[in-house]
């Protein structure tokens, strides 16, 4: 074994040397000296490690870290709750928003028709005059449910008539002979009124 072979096969820091190594060391003073230096270095490093074995971080580091851990642990405990509530709250909010929007739109649709908004409000019927309007000349007939307004002028043949739809208090039905209970007297009711060319009511029918 030459010097190169010796150091190529020499275990780390001269531990567990084999017989061949000892033989070379006995014959080579240089390698013996270097090996001795390495062993001394190894011993010194072990001594240094042993001397520093008691060196540790200051106690304040543990205090800070423990406080940080407790803070973090608190967050960790809260996290599952937060994670559980966040989607629920989000979906609940979204659902409420959808319902509110739907309600708003639905209410708007009901409000749009003018004839339901206010009582005693009158509008011209947008539809074609009903066929039975042609028969208003004879109010005594049973073919229609228009009721002649008391003391109103008779409708002349070929008179220009208008049909308007109104919302009136249910109590107005009493004047035309209908029986209305007192508790419902203030409720609104839809009615169609036939107006003569002079703008006066000639006949009425209730749609309720």
């Amino acid at each position: 074994m030459n010097c190169q072979e010796f150091w190529n096969t020499m275990p780390e820091l001269a531990h567990q040397a084999e017989d061949g190594h000892f033989e070379h060391v006995r014959e080579c003073a240089a390698c013996a000296a270097l090996l001795n230096r390495q062993r001394t270095l190894a011993s010194g490093l072990r001594r240094l490690a042993a001397d520093w074995r008691s060196v540790e971080a200051p106690a304040r580091v543990e205090s800070r870290l423990t406080a940080a851990f407790l803070g973090q642990a608190g967050l960790t405990v809260l996290r599952p709750a937060t994670r559980w509530w966040v989607p629920v709250a989000t979906w609940a909010t979204a659902a409420v928003a959808v319902v509110a929007l739907a309600t708003f739109l639905a209410r708007d649709r009901h409000v749009v028709p003018a004839h339901r908004t206010t009582s005693n409000r009158v509008e011209l019927a947008a539809v074609e005059p009903p066929a039975d309007l042609e028969m208003l000349g004879d109010f005594s007939g049973a073919d229609n449910d228009f009721i002649p307004v008391p003391n109103a002028a008779r409708i002349e043949p070929n008179e220009d008539l208008n049909l308007v739809r109104v919302e009136v208090p249910r109590s107005a039905m009493i004047a035309l002979g209908y029986a209305v209970s007192e508790d419902r007297a203030s409720e609104p009711v839809e009615a169609e009124v036939v107006l003569g060319a002079d703008g006066l009511a000639r006949a009425v029918r209730f749609l309720d």
């Binding site: 000296a33 490690a49 520093w52 540790e56 200051p58 423990t66």
Partner: protein
């Protein structure tokens, strides 16, 4: 009767992750000294070592680096974070080697005159000289000496910490020891009254 064996790092870590403060304290007390010493040997600064030790365990608390027991030991994982933090301190412009000595040197023994440059490694002065020599090593050699020789981390784990093959750990360690011997010899030669060694040539 089953002996009361200490909990493994992995067992403690599981308890710690469920919010067990005692488990965290147990892990910290088991591992903090090695991490602190590693940072101190690497930086030469107690301030940096304290910062690094704190940041390492904060990272563990916050699970910032995602420790996976299947990929290595907790010890190796902590050393790995500590190494990165020390390097970060270096990159921030902190001195790599500060030679800051926080240890009390008032009790050092009288310097012994000896013909062997390494013979004084048996006394405290020699050990302090060795520590300074380790601190003066280039970083890549210093970290293997600190890990393998001073903290007795095995080569496999050191390879994981350093992110290199085991063969590289061995070769760096070999080179680091040679450099240490050289530095110690230089230090010894520069002592007053030191005797220059004659070069020896192997004839066999």
């Amino acid at each position: 009767m089953t002996p009361n064996l200490p909990e493994t790092d992995d067992e403690l870590l599981m308890r710690m992750r469920s919010g067990d403060e005692q488990a965290f304290v147990a892990i910290y007390r088991r591992r903090q000294a090695a991490i602190y010493r590693f940072a101190l040997h690497m930086s030469g600064s107690a301030t940096v070592a304290e910062d690094v030790a704190q940041e390492v365990f904060l990272a563990l608390i916050r699970e910032e680096c995602g420790f996976d027991p299947r990929r290595g030991t907790l010890s190796g994982y902590l050393f790995g974070i500590a190494r990165k933090l020390v390097l970060r301190h270096v990159e921030r412009g902190r001195p790599d080697v500060t030679l800051e000595t926080d240890m009390d040197s008032s009790a050092l023994p009288e310097l012994m005159i000896n013909d062997d440059p390494l013979a004084d490694l048996i006394d405290r002065e020699g050990i302090e000289a060795l520590r300074r020599s380790v601190l003066a090593l280039p970083r890549r050699y210093r970290e293997v000496v600190v890990l393998c020789d001073l903290e007795e981390v095995d080569y496999g784990e050191a390879a994981i910490v350093l992110g290199c093959p085991i063969g590289t750990v061995r070769s760096r360690l070999h080179r680091a020891r040679a450099l240490l011997l050289e530095k110690l010899s230089q230090r010894w030669h520069h002592r007053p009254g030191a005797i220059a060694l004659k070069p020896i040539r192997c004839l066999i």
